[in-house]
């Protein structure tokens, strides 16, 4: 294999692939990035056996001789990072690979590409196509609610439910639930729900996309694929069953109030300043025209922030873990959110727009 390329052309893709490579040290071959030539350019790939990433690079790359090679991820990423901008030449030589710049030459020992795991095809038959920024937004609004390192593995991922007219993403750690939906133009068919590891979805956010670019999604029994114009991410799905989250969403909420998101976020943050790790709770007191966010601990004192709201229903006092409120208020972008509750002991709901809802368990206030 022989390539001539502008350093900048390959650096970003290589770095992205290198960040996926090598996370599992028990399988040495995974610490490599695979580079293979195509008709127009090269494809740069890496996998940690959970997530695979493939990026096609066309511009700035000239293929002088077809072939494929495994390059040690961190070393070659370093070479691309440290080399001065300009043209580089990469060539397979006996027992390795030579990377030549204007004034530099590196000979890197490489492993046999046959040892590398199989990679998904860059061509997929998508089940649906949505705007990349919509998907990234939905992930951002749900990922924070996943469990971290639960032995109920299903809770560590995000549930994808595709019906003939909506895409729904749901995440829960057992104490809160985030659900983002998106209306679709009619899709092919209803697919069985799939639990996608968060890791794949955070990589997705890093894929280079153009404004307004679409991402194609394909679901298989054991894997999911996300494809953009230049990149492909695949991930193995998580085993197990997601809890029946629709049943958790409370209905018949008699207390509803609209609040400016920024104001509530700021109020919760301020009230949280005087909470402690042992007593991490803020109190929301709703009364006509007023919402008060407060906290009180014997060790550090009291805090109280008042917000003006349009409310004329019955008063309510309800406690929350401030982190659970801050997370959601930071993740959504709407100017105004709606807070719904019924009893101090029953879950409350935060809605942001018609496509997003968040259920959160209250804390018992002392």
């Amino acid at each position: 294999m022989k390539l001539r390329f502008a350093r900048e052309a390959l650096r970003e893709a290589f770095q992205l692939a290198a960040s996926v490579a090598g996370q599992r040290t028990t399988k040495p071959v995974l610490q490599n990035v695979k580079v293979e030539t195509t008709e127009q350019g090269v494809i740069v790939s890496a996998t940690d056996l959970e997530v695979a990433i493939r990026l096609s690079v066309v511009e700035g790359v000239e293929v002088l001789e077809q072939g494929q090679i495994l390059l040690p991820a961190s070393r070659v990423a370093g070479i691309l990072r440290e080399s001065p901008a300009g043209e580089l030449e990469l060539e397979t030589v006996q027992s390795g690979c030579q990377i030549k710049g204007k004034d530099s030459v590196f000979k890197v020992l490489v492993e046999d590409p046959e040892e590398f795991p199989r990679l998904p095809s860059m061509q997929i038959e998508p089940a649906l196509r949505i705007a990349a920024k919509d998907l990234v937004g939905m992930v951002r609004k749900t990922a924070f609610a996943t469990a971290k390192e639960s032995t109920r593995y299903a809770l560590n991922g995000i549930l994808f439910v595709i019906t003939d007219h909506t895409l729904e993403l749901a995440a829960t750690d057992g104490r809160r639930l985030a659900v983002a939906t998106l209306d679709l133009e009619k899709t092919e068919a209803t697919l069985p729900p799939a639990i996608v590891p968060v890791k794949a979805l955070t990589e997705l956010e890093r894929l280079p996309t153009q404004e307004e670019e679409a991402v194609e999604i394909k679901l298989e029994e054991t894997q999911v694929f996300f494809k953009t114009e230049r990149g492909l991410i695949s991930s193995r799905l998580v085993e197990g069953n997601f809890p029946p989250h629709r049943e958790v969403i409370p209905k018949d909420m008699d207390k509803k109030v609209k609040v400016r998101r920024e104001s509530l976020l700021s109020a919760v943050r301020q009230a949280a300043l005087l909470t402690t790790e042992e007593a991490k709770a803020v109190r929301l007191s709703l009364s006509p025209a007023k919402l008060t966010v407060s906290s009180k601990t014997p060790e550090s004192g009291e805090a109280q922030v008042n917000l003006e709201v349009k409310y004329s229903g019955k008063p309510l006092e309800i406690g929350f873990n401030p982190d659970f409120l801050v997370d959601v208020l930071r993740a959504v972008e709407e100017e105004e959110i709606e807070l719904e509750a019924s009893e101090p002991t029953r879950p409350a709901v935060i809605r942001a727009g018609k496509d997003y809802l968040y259920v959160v368990m209250p804390l018992t206030l002392l």
Binding site: T26, K27, L49, E114, E115, Y153, T222
Partner: protein
């Protein structure tokens, strides 16, 4: 390497042959048996048999039916080189504390993802007797609702060291020491000299893995030097021999634990040497373990007074115990050589 190259372990082979041909493979096995008799090799070959793509072995398609593999298809090759996505190993670091939940985590993660290529996902824990109770329970939790195709194999030398909850859940498959001649032949095939192979086969208690480990650190030569030194032990040099013994065991040792382990190994060499002398005296025949230094054995067996050999063997066994409990290893060795000299050189 392939199944037929696994020596012995007939029981394990038949057990899995039956399970596989009846399509009744379980999801949790404990391979119990001494270190170095092939538990890891067996687990690897079993995994290869499940994934092997060779049509010759499996006419039809990936229905599991044969406990064999081709060792040459891409699946087999990648399992051999530890690069198969659905076959994961948990290796325990040497001299580490017990395996924590965090250490076991990647293996669990792999079990809880859907298979990459399927239809199985195999997770193998080496030295599972070093799992902490929390880590073992966490692994068991994964198996409460075993993910489809999951197969967890724990390899353990001491079954009793596993938490009772684990022992009771897994199907135990026993692995046994191999006959001495089989080990000897294997060692010769690995390129060891005849004398060395015979000696290591004799002292490794049916464990080719252990024998190879000794060979790797040049244990045979070490033993020869040791026997030579003890055969020529005298009132003039006994302290020097003790010091040399102590120094040698400490060379390249990372810590005092490792030094102690090596000292215990050296004492074992000596035990075999004096055992040979004893056998020769009492029975005037029998297979000498130290045949390669038979002259020394014979010479000493004639020279030593009746009763002295038994006493030396008792002293060596005591020395082993003392090395375990005394912090001053050097002193223990000095006492040892002094006592042997008193018995051997009146």
């Amino acid at each position: 390497m392939s199944f037929k190259d696994i020596k012995g372990q007939k029981e394990a082979k038949e057990f899995f042959q039956k399970a596989v041909s009846k399509d009744r493979l379980g999801f949790f096995y404990i391979f119990a048996g001494p270190d170095g008799v092939g538990k890891g090799l067996f687990a690897r070959e079993l995994a290869k048999s499940l994934f092997c793509e060779s049509g010759a072995l499996r006419p039809g398609k990936p229905s599991v039916g044969t406990l064999d593999n081709c060792s040459s298809c891409p699946a087999c090759l990648r399992i051999d080189s530890d690069n198969h996505p659905d076959v994961n190993w948990l290796d325990v670091r040497e001299s580490a504390e017990l395996v924590s939940v965090k250490d076991a985590r990647p293996l669990q993660d792999a079990l809880y993802l859907k298979p990459a290529e399927g239809p199985f996902k195999v997770a193998i824990v080496r030295q599972a007797d070093r799992l902490s109770i929390a880590a073992a329970n966490s692994l068991l939790k994964t198996l409460e609702e075993p993910p489809p195709g999951a197969l967890l194999i724990l390899l353990a030398a001491a079954l009793e060291a596993l938490p009772a909850t684990v022992r009771s859940r897994g199907q135990v498959v026993r692995f046994y020491p191999l006959p001495r001649d089989v080990v000897e032949k294997m060692l010769c095939q690995r390129g060891l000299g005849e004398e060395e192979a015979r000696y290591l086969a004799a002292i490794s208690q049916g464990s080719p893995g252990r024998a190879l480990e000794i060979a790797q650190r040049d244990g045979f030569q070490e033993k020869r030097n040791l026997v030579e030194a003890f055969a020529h032990l005298s009132k003039e040099n006994d302290l020097k021999v003790a010091e040399e013994l102590y120094r040698r065991a400490g060379k390249d040792a990372q810590n005092s634990m490792e030094r102690r382990k090596r000292l215990l190994n050296l004492i074992t060499y000596l035990l075999y040497f004096y055992r040979d002398i004893y056998l020769l005296r009492e029975e005037a025949q029998g297979l000498l373990v130290n045949e390669d230094q038979g002259d020394l054995v014979r010479r000493l067996s004639q020279r030593l007074k009746s009763g002295a050999v038994e006493k030396i063997i008792t002293i060596l066994l005591e020395t082993k115990r003392n090395l375990l409990y005394h912090s001053n290893q050097h002193l223990v060795l000095a006492v040892l050589t002094k006592e042997i000299v008193n018995l051997a050189v009146p």
